[in-house]
Symmetry: C2
Subunit: 249 residues, 2 copies
């Protein structure tokens, strides 16, 4: 059947995450419901990666098959008419019939936002981790460079999950400060060939005490060398995380 | 009694507006409650202007008197500990005892945001007016220039309110397009010595059909010349409006 590739943006605040779950509304469910209303087919929308409850996306990519003969333009408009206001299909294209949003993904990019300092941005609560201290983003940037390259990232995996391999390749990691209309915020950006479950939030959680000065810049390297999740590094809260884009061949 | 001047930012989504009202929570009420908890005094917090339900502020200014001997720094921290997460006191300073946030205001600046085009920004719903057509921000900018200067703005006043005079002086008005991480939005910025009730929203509502091409660029001038509110210009919805700053002597 014809396969489509869609790029989706969503505010994850009101969802249990990407994946269909019995305990509440998910992004995948809303897209599948929208497709059912349009095509009367029960389709599975395959996302490039599962985002957790409260995690946002500017460029999640998903694929689905449909026998519908609607043009991509009409399908895009119909989808956006059916999805809730906080889920938007940004673009759509016909993909090769064997295209699969997970299997064909080559690179993924995430951003994680921290809002530091005593004065909280009243517009940032749903989109950043508030850290009530001044943070040194340059120290965080230097500390994170040790993660670049191919490594066993077991230390930054979720405690409970098991995967065939915990080896991933981080192509780039930067920590910078950007101004907002009101204040400023710190942005961690990471690009890799793939991520373990909770990996970006665990990297953000390990960088936080480097930013506040409670850990030295060598801490990330020490954690990486442990190859073990049993260490005092935190998992950063979900609302600071944005899936930015996914690269395919 | 010692008088303080505070600058406040708030997300107006969950409030009935600045002013204390019986029908729901207001920004003024939350600030007065916070001050009561800190000082045990019933104080009136005087805002530089009343913002409506759903209108936001980056730089609302307010004044209040207190017999408290707390330093401004301690008062700032105590206020932010007591206010809800979507109201932040950005700064505080001792002001002359006769300082009054309304009477002493010389200039006010507002921004109004439009999000145009077919694809909605899922992060923008609470902070912009969605206009599902492409808009021409340059035409809007040119159309708005006729409002600059001292004029009788009766045509842009709210229908029901009466003021001593409807003459105001607009110092600057620009319409530009700015990119967001996902899409782009159009920003109307207006600075004046004061604004009639709903004046910015009525200017934004009149500029909207110029942007979409349903009205010519001369329309704003025609409306201004009417000196009468009975015309087909719309009042733009509140969520696109931000009080940016207030200038004092």
């Amino acid at each position: 059947m014809p396969t489509f590739k869609i790029t989706i943006a969503y505010d994850g605040t009101n969802y249990v995450g990407w994946q269909v779950q019995p305990n509440g509304p998910s992004i995948q469910e809303k897209l599948q419901q929208a497709l059912f209303k349009i095509t009367e087919e029960k389709t599975v929308v395959v996302g490039s990666g599962r985002t957790d409850a409260g995690v946002h996306a500017w460029g999640q990519v998903a694929s689905f098959e449909t026998a519908s003969t609607l043009s991509p333009e009409k399908l895009l408009r119909a989808l956006n008419a059916q999805t809730p206001y906080d889920i938007t299909v940004i673009s759509i294209e016909r993909a090769p019939d064997d295209f699969h949003a997970i299997r064909n993904a080559k690179k993924k990019r995430y951003r994680y936002f921290f809002q530091d300092g005593r004065i909280l941005d009243p517009f940032g609560l749903r989109y950043a981790w508030f850290v009530p201290f001044e943070m040194d983003e340059q120290a965080m940037h230097r500390a994170g460079q040790v993660l670049i390259g191919e490594h066993d990232f077991t230390s930054f995996a979720a405690k409970k999950t098991q995967t065939k391999t915990n080896i991933r390749h981080i192509y780039g990691l930067t920590v910078t400060r950007e101004t907002t209309p009101l204040l400023s915020r710190i942005v961690l950006e990471v690009e890799a060939n793939g991520f373990l479950y909770n990996m970006v939030r665990n990297i953000a959680g390990a960088l936080q005490p480097v930013g506040t000065g409670r850990q030295s810049e060598s801490w990330l390297g020490e954690l990486l060398a442990l190859k073990n999740r049993e260490h005092p590094g935190m998992t950063a809260p979900p609302q600071g995380l944005f899936m930015v884009d996914v690269t395919y061949d």
